[in-house]
């Protein structure tokens, strides 16, 4: 009973970590840079969706895609102002710049959206259905499904579509890709858009179970980065699986040992895994060519 309920909780949370971590993976693979403030992107997805669906009363089928489109725009903006100027000069200052931009966004939302947490009540989040005798919200089952679907979509996009193949080409060798006529800058900017869309989707999915407020993403962004490193940031399926594993382990620790130990043990475990497998669970060792 305790274990099954923890696993269900963990699967939902874990897929969400996985989605956020997938965002880290996408941009890291093509440009070796990430938006450290993925948590803010997640929050933006939830805030936009809430504003459209609850404040303006749009149907969710319209509100969610609109919110994701705005997230994509935000991703392009992040790359353009907080990553490109620094990466071009070979500087690592994008690290700080993305964190700073995230803080700016969090505070801008604080002032416009307000500090009070708001309830994003959707019919599929309330109520409970019985799974193995455990009451769960339908949304808790939808989140892992959506997570796997999005990871699968990314997989097929990169293998089958023209844009995806261009992305893979940039991953393998940006110089050669450029010589082949691929617009590398556009591919990178597209990867950042995709990255924030994943984060935004995680925000929209989780919001009805949680609530919507300006710093709702901070802790998740942090955990997702741990997950990305744990999975091996170079592997798409790796980070998704690591997300699910992290979520389930976290929930199991809470259920079996008590919540006092959750943070201590789950993060200690990350350190242990990385010490034993420096490239993460599924990552490949990077070869630095000199």
């Amino acid at each position: 009973m305790l274990v099954i309920s923890a696993i269900i909780t963990g699967l939902g949370l874990g897929s969400m970590y996985g989605l956020l971590a997938l965002g880290f993976h996408v941009t890291y693979a093509v440009s070796a840079t990430v938006n450290f403030a993925q948590g803010s992107s997640m929050m933006l997805g939830a805030v936009f969706a809430y504003s459209f669906a609850v404040r303006l009363g749009w149907p969710i089928a319209l509100a969610a895609p609109m919110a994701l489109a705005l997230c994509a725009l935000y991703g392009i903006l992040v790359e353009f102002i907080a990553v490109r100027p620094f990466a071009r000069r070979g500087s690592n200052a994008w690290l700080m710049a993305t964190v700073a931009l995230g803080i700016v966004v969090d505070n801008a939302v604080l002032f416009t959206f307000g500090k009070e947490p708001r309830g994003f009540n959707m019919p599929w989040a309330s109520g409970s259905i019985k799974v193995f005798g455990i009451g769960v919200s339908p949304l808790q089952l939808m989140i892992p499904a959506a997570g796997i679907a999005l990871a699968g979509a990314l997989h097929f996009y990169s293998r089958r579509s023209r844009g995806g193949k261009a992305m893979l080409a940039v991953v393998q060798n940006p110089e050669a890709a450029r010589l082949m006529g691929i617009n590398v800058a556009r591919v990178i900017s597209g990867a950042f858009a995709l990255s924030t869309v994943f984060a935004g989707a995680a925000g929209i999915l989780i919001a009805p179970l949680f609530n919507v407020h300006s710093d709702m993403g901070t802790v998740f962004g942090l955990k997702a980065f741990a997950v990305a490193i744990l999975g091996g940031i170079t592997s798409a399926w790796g980070v998704m699986i690591a997300g699910v594993v992290f979520g389930v382990v976290e929930a199991l620790i809470t259920a079996l040992l008590g919540s006092t130990y959750t943070q201590i043990l789950s993060f200690a475990l990350v350190i242990v895994v990385l010490a034993a497998m420096p490239n993460g669970l599924f990552g490949r060792a990077e070869v630095k060519k000199v």
Binding site: M1, L2, S5, A6, T9, G12, L13, G114, K115, E116, P117, R118, G119, N121, S126, S128, I134, G135, V136, S137, Q140, I206, L209, F210, N211, H213, M216, T218, V219, F220, A251, T254, A255, G258, S259, T260, T262, Q263
Partner: protein, 393 residues
Amino acid sequence: MKSAWTRRTFLAAAATAALACTLPATAAEPIKIGLVTALSGQSARAGEAITRGLTIAIDELNASGGVLGRKFELVRRDDEATPAKGVIAARELVFKEKVAVLFGGLDTPVSLAIVPIMNQAKVPFIGPWAAGTPITKNGANPNFVFRVSAVDEIVDKAMLQYAQKNFGTKKPGLILINNPWGASNEKGLRAAMQAKGVTPAGIEKMENSDIDVVPQLTRLKEAGADTLFMVGNVGPSAQVVKSLDRMGWKVPIVSHWGPAGGRFTELAGPNAKTVHFVQTYSFYGNQRPVGEKVMKMLMAKYPDIKGPDDVTPAVGVANAYDAMHLVALAIKNAGSTDGPKIREGFFKIGSYDGLIKTYNKPFSPAVHDAITENDYVWTQFVDNKILPVGMVK
């Protein structure tokens, strides 16, 4: 001759006039009452509630001539909910504005930062909101800090007392926010339970970012918890209610005042009303004459107040109103606005028929908190109103 007479008359008149100007001016120089609280940002409403409670009391006191022949004047500063800003504001009010007493706001960390300054300056500091136990129990001797509000340590005793009386609680499960506030209440609840020989089913922590509290609650359920003691702000408290809904576990929830801080019903759903939480006062229901009088004064002074619905948060208004009257009595007893004498004046307060209760010797050198566990009001959210428990079935 005529002109000299006129000159003398003129001089005399001028002297009299000058005297008339200076003398009453000294006598009527107002007694400054300082207030440092959040007046902007997320807690602005709370700061406004404290302001309104103080203003109503000051207007009432001034209308009857003030104290020591002097009237009161409120001087406010915004602490923006940050200790550093609060300390600067407190110093300015104490050393530059020379306030006779200083009121604090709702943030325990801000008040804790101000406490040492006040004890050093020997100016009384009165807490109308922040509940942290060490604010009044600060170890200073002499201690210049007084409070008319809930106190964590006492709330914890009251939670146990209420649960035992109303739900026959034998084995409570604790679900506490994982921060200093939760820790302070864990200490208080453990002490309260130990004093009554109660062993908890378990003590679980939750984070502000916890989406699903089911694992923690399942542990408590399997350990045989018959009641939940909850300490957390409105967000995590709502997550507890939603998680219980999913589990289908109907269990009484007795809570600290966290849910009062936001849109609890919107966040937690219809079962928000199952949470019984502590308040120091409610303007709903039958009021004593003082309650009716205060409500009338609030409606006359503030056009946006049409009834109890608009007095939010009520605890801020009520605590501040009573605290200001107690301050006036202390100054009257002191016969001066000298800090150490006012401090002694607090201990000499006899009976005062206040809004929250009739205070009877509320303060002594050992007791700096005027509100006890018998004075709390137990409330629940019904739609968006905080009503006394059982008022609406």
